[in-house]
Symmetry: D2
Subunit: 346 residues, 4 copies
């Protein structure tokens, strides 16, 4: 931590801050510059150290110099993590594809979708049974009934099941049916929920909150890892910006950044990330070209009758076209969509 003094800080102020750094159990190192003096504070910091130094008299600012996340960091584990959950593998050479409707709406809807996405090459089925909705007057999901339908779809197709869990009290129930627990963007900083999914033996797909920094996403992952669950998949699904021609702004450079910082695999959600079905194949292809380890995509047999997110859902036919394009891109970057013998290699 570097304490930057103001240009006109007095000798007394500098001496006082040096003493304060030392009183916090840190080693102080004073460096006199041409314009101003800085004090390097060396050692293990406790909570609030930065803030307490920052309000000292004569202090211009305090600059931290180490990342706050630990277990997720590439500095701790340099080998990439391969997350497996049923038929889904994310983090190896093979690119994992999760597809399905926003919400489970009926038996025929989910079975039909499962069959179609399986045929097109997906590895897991998504479908919400518990829906967090902005308005209390919107459809809130089929709950356990929906989970049972997902299970039926899994038995029929062999696809792994990924579904959202929105409350700690539901974790056990959802984990009974799901291979992958989704933590939605609105819950990225619901710490109790993170701890709860960190305590069960299920892979977790953690979505970035729409105003979270990528470092905050990594810190949220730490809550899960810290409980002993290492099967965490990070998901970029778009952030809120001033742009209004897309539902969210999808920053694919997140993929590059995360591969630079963490060993955890990274998937992209082009459906929420754009909000428009016509943009989804472009962004799916772009994500794979950028190095993403997987995709999570909304598919609905008849988007125009969907109870939620129909606007951004692909038809099965459009999804199959998207998969063809993604397959070619994957090959171009020496990845693949199909399972093969060397698919687990990093």
């Amino acid at each position: 931590m570097i304490v930057v003094m103001k240009a006109d800080a007095s000798k007394d102020q500098i001496a006082h801050m040096t003493a304060q750094v030392e009183s916090l159990g840190l080693r102080a190192h004073v460096i006199v510059g041409t314009e101003r003096t800085v004090i390097a504070a060396i050692g293990v910091k406790r909570d609030g150290t930065k803030e307490s130094l920052a309000i000292g008299e004569g202090v211009a600012e305090v600059v931290p110099i180490s990342a706050p996340y630990k277990v997720a960091s590439l500095e701790v584990k340099s080998e990439k993590t391969l997350v497996q959950a049923g038929s889904l593998r994310v983090g190896g050479r093979q690119i994992g594809i999760i597809a399905g409707p926003c919400s489970v709406e009926s038996e025929s809807q989910i079975l039909e979708t499962a069959k179609a996405v399986k045929e097109a090459g997906a590895h897991a089925l998504r479908g919400g049974a518990f829906k967090p909705r902005t308005s209390p007057y919107s459809f809130q999901g089929m709950k356990e009934e929906g989970l049972k339908l997902l299970d039926a779809a899994r038995q029929m197709t062999g696809l792994a099941v990924a579904t959202e869990v929105v409350a700690t009290e539901d974790v056990e129930l959802v984990a009974r049916y799901a291979d992958v627990l989704q933590v939605g963007a609105r819950n990225m900083q619901n710490y109790r929920l993170l701890e709860a999914v960190g305590s069960v033996d299920r892979a977790v797909l953690l979505k970035r909150g729409p105003s979270a920094t990528v470092d905050e996403l990594l810190l949220a992952a730490e809550y899960i890892l810290d409980r002993g669950n290492g099967r965490v998949i990070l998901c970029e699904r778009g952030i809120r910006t001033y742009e209004s021609h897309t539902r969210f702004t999808l920053p694919l450079a997140t993929v590059s950044y995360l591969h630079h910082k963490t060993h955890l695999p990274v998937v992209v959600d082009p459906s929420h990330g754009t909000g428009h079905a016509y943009m989804v194949p472009d962004m799916a292809a772009a994500a794979i070209a950028a190095g993403a380890d997987g995709l999570i995509v909304e598919v609905h047999p008849t988007p125009e009758t969907a109870l939620s997110d129909g606007y951004q859902s692909l038809t099965p036919a459009a999804f199959a076209d998207m998969m063809d394009r993604c397959r070619k891109i994957a090959n171009a970057v020496d990845r693949c969509l199909e399972e093969s013998h060397n698919a687990t290699g990093g």
Copy 2:
């Protein structure tokens, strides 16, 4: 809802969309413009109507024309709501002031702060016992021990107690000790939690999420109101923007907008809204000048030793100065900080 057709939409497409509007149980009204045709869809919409129309062929966009929140709307109840909770009243002529540390840290800390803010004119004491922290390695709060200390402070000073609740399973416990339940920014869209605080007999201070729109804040309030709890106080605490010289960007026009849309009272949090103690008095004064019904402000006896948020906490002396300035501003806009016989008038 207005279905705007593309400039080159065919007659068939227009006829098809008209039929589809009618098949959804709505009345269709076709308007032929100079450049394009629009279809007004009249009647009660079900979920997903907008999305399903939007993907029709030949459709350029679908524009909704009524606000989705109901109970919170000024169109439903035109008289301003006065929320009372112990010694705190928000929504009348008197401006309600909630002050105290970010976290309860010790008996002496909370009692000393309570005494100081009471003396300076505050009406309620804030202090976190359950802390949602970005990092799992940060101080997580004193939990029930902290609640007991808040209770002791209330008994000593008569101040109402406002404290955050972060999980549904804690609502009952926290409600036993608190007059006002805070729902933090990270939990603004934790719908289970909103339902839970909507089901207890405590006032709720609902903070805007850092990337939530104001309409989403109103919809979150609907979850609470819908459960029968009408004592909801809305709180602007800053949003995330590209600005980095403040912790968040504090948009005070939210106060104007909310007074224009809802009968619920509005308070401002200049501490989180700026992140810098030196800015807090300016923004507190500005909030009152703009018409805010109250403030929630962080005060700590020794900010430089605070376990959280020391950087943005006022000392008791600075808080007293702030209150003097706010008192003058309140008078200038025909409001007051002190209780008086006509304090309950709107």
Copy 3:
């Protein structure tokens, strides 16, 4: 234009607004809904119509229903525009690559870079001679001397030259040396400059401003098209958001959106869009996968000594690697980097 009345608007207010719509020379069409009434205003609007209607009594809001740009619109010209400028072609099957240093710094620097990027497959050389810098104390460019060096590089390599013009009074001078005039992000709404570049016979690369909407970018292009210069290339180079781990946030969905709205070609600048050399190849590949018609990339022989933007510049070797990856991606989406006989096809 749709005038949406408030739920409690009186009959008089509705009648008054209907009359006002007609007094503006428009046809009024009143639609009575279940909750509220809307008035469709049909005909050619003059400036300020929306605003003047919006402040009428009883009006909730006014919703425009046609895009304000005209010449750039796909509705006007459905065939994609191919922009040619010397050896550069953007908008056909071939993907146009513009590469070079942020600033022209010396003869050896620019010639060496030109040779290297040509060898790796670039079609045009970029290099700033007039630099708009945030601080007046930063390097401001070599001016005409720099233009002459660009010209020398063109003669040596056959590459087209793209360079920024920052002021109307420089347009003629810069046009003497350049094949493509760049209008930088800071100048996207410098309308005099847009008019000036619209009046010369040079292709224009128009960069999106960091807080401009895509529709504003299209309107800026209209200023150029309106003066008769149809050779406009649009450039996404990142927008300002709360993210700080990248210099800007690069929203590649802009490519999808623009291809949906305009016939003008679209290039992406992954260098400014990320600010980090290690992210540039990922985003270059992603842009091509998403359908971009070209790239503009910063390359410097020794980034660590660059006078500007060294942090985001590729070395010639890294650029050659990037080109290999992009070539494969281009083939995967049925595009190409190399000139060929059918390169002009859309």
Copy 4:
């Protein structure tokens, strides 16, 4: 400048970076921490130093530690600057009020407005003669004809005239008629224009760009100050964020920040900052409570017929009400709106 090495940087990498710091003419100071090593680089930096260090092997990041603006800094001149221009004074105890229409539209419009705002207590008249418009098809202003009308209004009322200049070639002309040259938000980084207005003897009102940081605003001011024109007034007019219920988001904490960093006076534009007439008086009052030195407000005799910005313009009656409220707020914070003998005191 602090070079932060990675946790796993080798001794060789540290030695190499130390040497590189010294080769740039700086003094290197190596500090070995518990987790990582940092190198302080002391001395006068040339352009690109930060970037060139940042790409060294083993370097995690480079942190600058001094503000890049100089002349505008409080560290250079601690006494607040009072800018005078005709009847307007900004920066003293008196709060300067600039009011008038967005655009000059006709003789009667501008004279009527001038009379009204003068009567209500304004000190200067605003009115655009050269209008930078997003669309080329919008009204572009009355040009010199408009300037002459402003001059007539000044002669009739004694009000100073503030009007926008959009191009270097117009500076001389506009300066002939105006007391205050406005540089609009879109031109905040039009450096040629900044240099041009820095070279004439007129006060300059410099508006913050909608995605500019406050430090970038200060650097833009440096361009003007650097040319010898010290009469610079900074203006906060709102930034672009994801919020859509206001035209821009108006961050009043900018006022606190600027007073903390610079001696230049700060005014607020609540008209553009909100985009809604009903919010303007709230934000005007809030700005003064926060410590602003002045306001610039749009007033139009008949907003519903305005050629631009009618939506956010106050009627003369609403403006007079706003002034009454602001007068009370000003008194509450020991400022005033009316000229008096001690009005020039800081």
